[in-house]
Amino acid sequence: MAKSRSFRLTKWACYILLTIMAAIWLLPVIYALTTSFKSQSDVMQTGFRLLPASWIMDNYVRVLSNTSSAPIVRWFFNSLFISTTHTLLMMVFVSLAAFGYARMDFKYRDTMFFTILAISMFPAVVNIIPNYMIVHKLGWVNTPLAVIMPGLGGVGNVFLVRQFMQGLPKSYDESARMDGANDFTIYFKIILPLIKPVLIVTSIFSFTGSWNDFLWPTIVLNNVDQLTITAGLQLLQDIYGNYMVIGQLMASAFLAMIPTSLLFIFAQKYFIESLNLNTGIKG
């Protein structure tokens, strides 16, 4: 029975370590959340107290009603519009392109695909400066298009969806073609329904990636009203932080965390799957 004793010992060691790590990982979010319900005088009390002396909604009311220096509601909807549009367009482009590269025949098809894949792997830092020039020439600076469009040229998602499509039997297309279906019918009626899982996965990642993007939006959006919430929060340190209005700072941070966290809670399965797809592990 020596084995079961060591089994129990390691089990408890795991529990203790996992719990300590989880506590450290949770503390910032919980402390931010409780602080967002503290009054200003409560925040300024020194000494560690997790819970507010009395729970107040004032911070949220003030943050949500700010429409000039930090219009957070506006930023929130800017982000929602940008990330949603980006994701929808991405799915259309990606599924079309993947169909072309996986299920249509033309000369140098695979050479062409792997060439663009290899090119896209060069570090993106080089593209940032010329991309600004392009966006400027197109007249997109300070418009949502500047943040929605450039990312659509990426090849990573096409690669994932193409891989997935190649796993589908060729006979599906062939029998449909026999029945007189053309490529568009095959794409819409046969392939699109079958690739739904991989499309959900890539759309979740496109959405969170777009929502959390920071550097690019701060370059092409410099009008306070046009900012995304991720870029906008950068301004808050000056607006609330310098005056130590920490409750409002935390209320804003917490509001910004909600959409992606909610998405995870409802789609945890797909998040885990997507990571496996990226590394090429079969889920």
Binding site: T10, K11, C14, L17, L18, W25, P28, V29, A32, T35, V43, G47, L96, A97, G100, M104, D105, F106, K107, R109, D110, I116, S120, P123, V125, V126, N127, I128, I129, P130, N131, Y132, I134, H136, P150, G153, V158, Q163, Q166, D183, N212, F214, L215, T230, L233, L236, G241, I246, L249, M250, F254, A256, M257, S261, F264, I272, L275, N276, T279, I281
Partner: protein, 305 residues
């Protein structure tokens, strides 16, 4: 993966060139690829050999930018590039190893058959990765706030974290790890779940300890996911920008001013843009990233033989 690369293209002998019908499918993406990836990349290389203010037309200066950055100690670009690259390397060295080791340890602990609530723990470690870096920075600045933050209050210290070294780096590392370990942990966990239990049991019968089992069975099996996460985490770490910007603004005394911050300031900062110089720096950073990734691949490939 290898089977998927060429499973359906060899048997077609009479393949024709690309036609209108095919362009309808690959065209939309291809146009965006050319406009926002291929062209900018070529233009970025070109711009690095020019004097350019971002909007006007660039004027060719040959290797002047690279000479200033790499060989002229009197140039401010030389000192900026040097300081930025050193600080970026410090960030990479301080975060990447822990971004691999901590998730590995967590994944191993979550692999233990007696441990319950695996999904719960996984969610706690994963969700911070979905929180934007700006929201995370605001929260972590409060956690390390000298007077009001829980860290100083619990430890009874009065360190002013963000403006003193090494504390400034510690906050940056901590908040980076907070967001970075979940994804890698999930990857390791699913790679480990593919390992057959028989292997471990056979090893146990031979008297293998947990350490032996980990190094002889677990690690070799998850080699490719491990390599993938190391390369991706390193490349991402070289692009670090938001964490030091939000937490320390590059201070104290530019000791956390990373290369991306210099590149951004030179191209898009206040005053006249020196986009040509910034482009040259971004090319150099890109080359460093590629070299390190190639080196990592080689190292892992060798050690696996």
């Amino acid at each position: 993966m290898e089977n998927s690369f060429d499973n359906d293209n060899t048997q077609h002998k009479n393949r024709k060139g690309i036609k209108f019908k095919q362009w309808v499918f690959i065209g939309p993406h291809f146009i965006f690829f050319v406009v926002f990836i291929l062209f900018p990349m070529i233009y970025g290389f070109y711009a690095s050999f020019t004097k350019w203010n971002l909007i006007g037309s660039p004027s060719w200066v040959g290797l002047e930018n690279y000479e200033a950055i790499l060989m002229d100690p009197t140039s401010s670009f030389y000192s900026q590039f040097r300081n930025g690259l050193v600080n970026t390397l410090i960030f990479v060295a301080g975060t990447v190893p822990l971004q691999v080791i901590i998730p590995l340890v967590l994944a191993v602990m979550l692999q233990h058959k007696g441990v319950k609530g695996k999904g719960f723990f996984q969610a706690i470690f994963y969700i911070p990765g979905l929180i934007s870096v700006t929201a995370a920075a605001l929260v972590w600045l409060l956690i390390f706030n000298p007077r009001l933050g829980p860290v100083n209050n619990l430890l009874g210290s009065n360190v002013t974290w963000a403006v003193n070294q090494p504390y400034a780096w510690i906050i940056i590392f901590m908040m980076t790890l907070w967001g970075a370990i979940g994804g890698n942990m999930v990857i390791y966990r699913s790679a480990m779940s593919g390992i057959s239990n028989d292997l471990y049991e056979a090893a146990e019968i031979d008297g293998a300890t947990s350490f032996v089992k980990f190094f002889k069975i677990t690690l070799p099996t998850i080699k490719f996911p491990l390599l993938y996460t190391i390369v991706m985490s390193t490349a991402a770490a070289f692009n670090v920008y938001a964490q030091p910007l939000m937490v320390t603004s590059g201070g104290p005394e530019q000791s956390t001013f990373v290369l991306m911050m210099y590149i951004r300031n030179l191209a898009f900062g206040q005053g006249q843009s020196v986009a040509g110089m910034a482009a040259a720096m971004s090319i150099l950073l890109g080359i460093v990233i590629v070299i390190i990734a190639a080196f990592q691949f080689r190292l892992m490939y060798r050690s696996s033989k």
